[in-house]
Amino acid sequence: MEKKPNPNVRMWQGNVACAEGAIAAGCRFFAGYPITPSSEIAEVLALRFPVVGGHFIQMEDEIAAMGAVIGGSLGGAKTMTATSGPGFSLKQENIGFAAMAEVPCVIVNVQRGGPSTGLPTHAAQSDVMQARWGTHGDHPIIVLSPSSVRETYDLTVRAFNLAEKYRMPVILLSDEIIGHLTEKIEIPDPSTIEIIDRKKPIDTPENYLPYKMDDSDIPAMANFGEGYRYHVTGLAHDETGFPTNDPEKIRAQMLRLNRKIQRFRDDIVEVETFNTDDMDVLVISFGSTARSVKRAVINAREKGVKAGLLRLKTIWPFPDKEIEALYKPVRKIVVAEMNLGQIAHEVEWATRREKPVVRVNKIDGEPITPIEIYEAIIS
């Protein structure tokens, strides 16, 4: 008997999985600007959105795309933009607005080599710190990092869920390798995908406080044009949303804004461990590089070196507790990343420099190979 093809199996590129994951998550508005290596996300959505009831718009620049995404979200849609290095730099001011005004939205950064124009068609993982601190001021942010095409799909869905749940911008930090990698994947049945929507106000419009201080720390969000006439500003504001210079009110709101991350970090942080139970060497990585690490760990085990992998699916808030739970018994830590040590620095901080941290870095656009990581493990 002939085998029936599985209708959920796809040969997809990471960027396609991102676009399709967004649709599955309920995203119906995308504003973007062409930039390599993220453009396929825009192209797929330009093709798909008109058919599924969504709206694609190519804006005049990266800044406008980020602005439109915030405006669309205030109207009640789940919204996304996608970009890479230079475009991510340009979006930063409006990302700060989304953090300050607590407007859910998803920003995809398919990382390429930098700084400046850098390496448009080659991979890097050097926007780790920019994703955390790119916009000015103390602000909350969530950053997720996929290591495969299927995970790009899943984490795109998760990015929307976290954005809606915590009322904040969420960054999907992909990279050129994952974005352009084509893999056979099986997509989940839509009915099995968990979808989270923003909390709607239960108060009457007269009593609605868009930045209400209550036990939840996450105020309910009304859509524009649905009877709740409120004010949204990037200025420091009080519970009503109107600007204030009152230090007490500013402090209360700013602490709540940043507390959202601290308080719910266990819900946000996700990691994957591989061969970590009896390990002597802990290798920490994320994104495309984690694929090379997995191979290096297997090779090291074959040679009798007990290596294990901790893969960061969430980068910010930083998985410090997860590292702390693993590092005590190990002899050394290896951090492999396509930058000059942005995660390694955090790892040293999280482990109080109690173990030697060996850095495997590459910044020439080439992926880090399993051999390079293997050598660091066994040395």
Partner: protein, 271 residues
């Protein structure tokens, strides 16, 4: 009419200085809204940064005070998601045509169904009187202490060239005209721009010895020329004059109407 019905009275006093024309523009906007009978829930006012951009804080609509220059970009997303909202963007000369110039011309090109009211006072007032893209050559500003070397934009002509469906210019002296133009702009199903000349005695008038707010408004009265009359005047005669009137009033499909065609075509191909 009852202006207070539309105002957030508890947010008064406003931040605008004595002699500033911005309040006159706000009253024009509210009069037109009242005349058209628009519901407050159905209106969104969006702004960027600057004195004019503080307007949304004082009006009882859905109000959005965005980043500097970006009001049109935010409003574009909002309009797409909530097409039935009447979206009014209020912006200054610097906000709309310097830092936000790209969004301004592209919204005009796209013919998005938005109205932009530009409060043109030739200066960055809120930050203390720096030269703006409309400061005339030779006029003084805090960043042009010896006189401004840069040529100014003609905002209405810029909007016209970029493809706006409706463009008009008035002054705060010509309140009747201002009301009429705002009404026409609000009713236009496309990108509409009303540029209104407004005095900034504090940051512009004082430095350029143009007197107080009243003096500056009287200057507008004396030096405004209707667009029909201006067409018969030489360039020399028009030096220092404010050309008022309707520059563009045309019917063309707006952005969302054209995107509807995209949807129809996509569905046809993919069925």
């Amino acid at each position: 009419m009852d202006y207070l019905y539309y105002l957030r009275e508890e947010k008064m006093p406003h931040i605008w200085c004595d002699g500033c024309g911005h309040g006159i523009i706000l009253k024009s906007i509210l009069r037109v809204i009242d005349k058209l009978g628009w519901e407050k829930d159905d209106i969104a006012m969006v702004s960027g940064i600057g004195c004019s951009s503080r307007t949304p804080g004082y009006v009882d609509f859905n109000t959005l005070h965005t980043t500097h220059g970006r009001a049109i970009a935010f409003a574009t997303g909002l309009k797409i998601v909530k097409p039935n909202l009447h979206i009014i963007i209020v912006s200054g000369d610097g906000d709309a045509t310097a830092i936000g110039g790209n969004h301004f011309i592209h919204a005009a090109r796209r013919n998005t169904d938005l109205t932009v009211i530009i409060y043109n006072n030739y200066i960055y007032g809120m930050t203390g009187g720096q030269a703006s893209p409309t400061t005339p050559i030779g006029k003084k500003a805090s960043t042009a202490p010896y006189g401004n070397p840069d040529a100014p934009f003609d905002i209405s002509r810029l909007a016209q060239a970029a493809g706006a469906a409706y463009v008009a210019r008035s002054t705060v002296y010509h309140v009747g005209k201002t009301d009429r133009y705002i009404e026409q702009a609000f009713l236009k199903r496309g990108f509409s721009v009303v540029e209104i000349m407004t005095p900034c005695p504090t940051s512009y008038g004082r430095r350029n010895k143009e007197g107080n707010g009243v003096d500056m408004i009287m200057f507008q009265k004396k030096n405004s020329v209707g667009i029909e009359r201006a067409q018969k005047m030489s360039e020399e005669e028009l030096q220092g004059k404010i050309i008022t009137g309707v520059f563009v009033d045309k019917e063309q499909n707006n952005y969302l109407q054209r995107y509807k065609e995209v949807i129809d075509k996509a569905k046809q191909i993919n069925q």
